[in-house]
């Protein structure tokens, strides 16, 4: 029985190699910007992640942005972090999202608020990402809330649970390295249906991690979507390497960007190569292309990587 009525799940069911994108909500009520970004992604990706106040900077909510994106004919993956909401607020959002036909939810711990524009705020972290996955799974499959109560309006009414496809993130580059695959196994055990990874630059380490994943047979239980982000400049590459916790950018890429006449073009070329390499790795079921503030480049990248046109259902 399908978990959701979503396109993403169906594509996996039919054995397609999927492409997902990412759309960062605006820091204002700029609806046109959301529509413009969605326009760039339409037809190029199978679903698009809508981030939840990423890096703890206040933005249009992922729920509201997901609805706008959906209105543009694009399937959203609504992200939920544990930083800002407790189990009460999150469950209410899950039901609300399902009511609006949002089919995919990605469960995240969330960046600490010290990174964002409200470092003086209080965080929540009532539950962690694994408990979040388990909670949504129980809502969907058992029709119960985290407290055990059934999801229905009265004893006589039908149980009406949210039908959503549950995603989670994995960072193969965080420490301790050996715990990373354990953590993936825990997410799978909790009920994750698909996994999107942190953006990959260190292919060797990713391949090593995938080997551990296959050894545990996890790739057969969950769809693993490999994350990539095109490097726009040498500065960005160095920033990713030095300032983003748990991110490794090999010097060979930085050299290439340095030597290139047009660093941006070179960054895209690197990204396309990576996508092609990732397609070859056993157990990789798709690409998650995070072109941050570069949505208009997505079409070209996906096309050159040989992943266009996207399948229809």
């Amino acid at each position: 029985m399908p978990k959701s009525d979503g396109r993403l799940e169906q594509l996996f069911e039919k054995g397609h190699f999927v492409v997902t994108g990412e759309l960062g909500p605006p820091k204002s009520v700029d609806v046109d910007l959301v529509k413009e970004k969605a326009g760039h992604l339409l037809g190029c990706v199978d679903a698009v992640n809508i981030t939840d106040n990423q890096t703890a900077i206040v933005r249009m909510s992922s729920f509201a942005t997901a609805l706008l994106v959906q209105g543009q004919g694009l399937e959203p993956v609504m992200q939920i972090t544990c930083r800002d909401r407790n189990r009460i607020a999150i469950q209410s959002d899950v039901i609300g999202a399902a009511a609006h036909g949002i089919h995919n939810i990605l469960c995240l711990t969330g960046d600490h608020q010290c990174f964002g524009n409200h470092p003086t705020s209080k965080n929540v972290y009532d539950i962690d990402s694994i408990q979040l996955i388990a909670m949504i799974k129980a809502m969907r499959d058992e029709g119960v809330f985290a407290c055990g109560e059934e999801i229905r309006v009265s004893k006589k009414a039908d149980v009406k649970p949210p039908q959503v496809f549950i995603g989670a993130a994995a960072n193969p580059f965080g420490d301790p390295f050996e715990f990373r695959v354990i953590r993936l196994a825990k997410k799978v055990a909790a009920g994750a249906n698909f996994i999107q990874t942190q953006c990959i630059y260190d292919m060797e380490r990713f391949a090593e991690w995938m080997k551990q994943v296959r050894n545990r047979g996890l790739h057969e239980k969950v769809k693993i979507i490999a994350g990539v982000t095109p490097l726009k400049s040498v500065g960005m590459a160095k920033y990713m390497r030095d300032s983003v916790a748990g991110m490794m950018v090999p010097d060979s890429y930085i050299d290439r960007l340095n030597k290139a006449e047009n660093a941006a073009e070179e960054g895209i070329a690197i990204c396309i190569e990576q996508m092609q390499q990732l397609c070859e790795i056993e157990g990789v079921a798709g690409i998650h292309l995070m072109a941050i503030e570069w949505e208009h480049k997505v079409k070209g990248i996906v096309e050159k990587a040989g992943l266009l046109p996207r399948p229809t259902i």
């Binding site: 544990c82 694994i130 965080g174 420490d175 301790p176 715990f179 196994a185 748990g246």
Partner: protein, 227 residues
């Protein structure tokens, strides 16, 4: 122990100058050990207040006195109570508990906090204290090799490190050890990694602050029927 840090002097001086006669009341227990509010610190603050008031030409008399603990009624002996009553106000160098309890013992006293109370921690070395417990009211240390993810993980994660753990340090600040790295290392050493593979359910936070202000009542040791 409960740790604390001295409040900025200007703040404390502003408290003091509202009055003519002030008692600086040190506490001989936790805040003595963490060098924030013991006898020595009480003496120092007394000197500072005296000097500053003199500089400013403010008429202020400052006395200093330290008792064993400000969170126990029995240490507020007669001499102490007299000193408190004789003063117009008290600057308590005890933790927030002591400040409040001082008022409970002597409801007419005006008591100001002289330190900022921080956390339950240990002395790592002289001059360095570090948080160890968050008082969650339902200790789960046993499951994590004796290391607390509730208080020592910046996100209180119970199922392993977030993606930000890097080189043993927390994403929040490279001065903070990622407790999940330490938990992993220790459980590995103990041969108990399989336990970390079990998913921990959502924690019941009602035993902690989230259940509202707490109290402990032990009928077996109370002296008379409790209200």
């Amino acid at each position: 122990m409960i740790t604390a840090e001295r409040k900025p002097f200007d703040t404390v001086y502003e408290f003091a100058r509202r009055h003519k006669k002030v008692l600086v009341l040190g506490c001989g227990t936790c805040v003595t050990v963490c060098m924030a509010g013991g006898k020595k610190e009480a003496e120092i603050l007394t000197s500072q207040l005296t000097l500053k008031a003199r500089q400013d030409g403010v008429d202020l008399e400052v006395e200093e006195h330290t008792i064993e603990r400000q969170c126990d009624r029995e240490f507020f002996d007669e001499a102490t109570q007299r000193k408190i009553k004789d003063a117009d106000a008290v600057i308590s160098l005890a933790c927030g508990v002591g400040v409040q309890f001082c008022i409970e013992v002597l409801p007419d006293a005006i008591v100001y906090p002289g330190v900022d109370t921080k956390f339950y921690g240990a002395t790592i070395e002289q001059g360095l204290w570090s948080e160890r417990c968050g008082g969650c009211g339902n200790c789960v240390l046993e499951q994590f090799g004796g290391l607390c993810p509730v208080a020592r993980c910046s996100k209180s994660l119970l199922n392993g490190p977030c993606g930000g753990s890097s080189d043993g340090k927390c994403e929040v600040n490279s001065d903070i050890d990622c407790i999940w790295q330490l938990i992993y290392d220790r459980m590995k050493k103990l041969g108990r990694l399989d336990e970390l593979e079990q998913n921990q359910p959502a924690k019941d936070w009602t035993t902690g602050r989230d259940g509202g202000p707490r109290r402990i009542l032990r009928e077996d040791v109370t002296l008379e029927a409790n209200p």
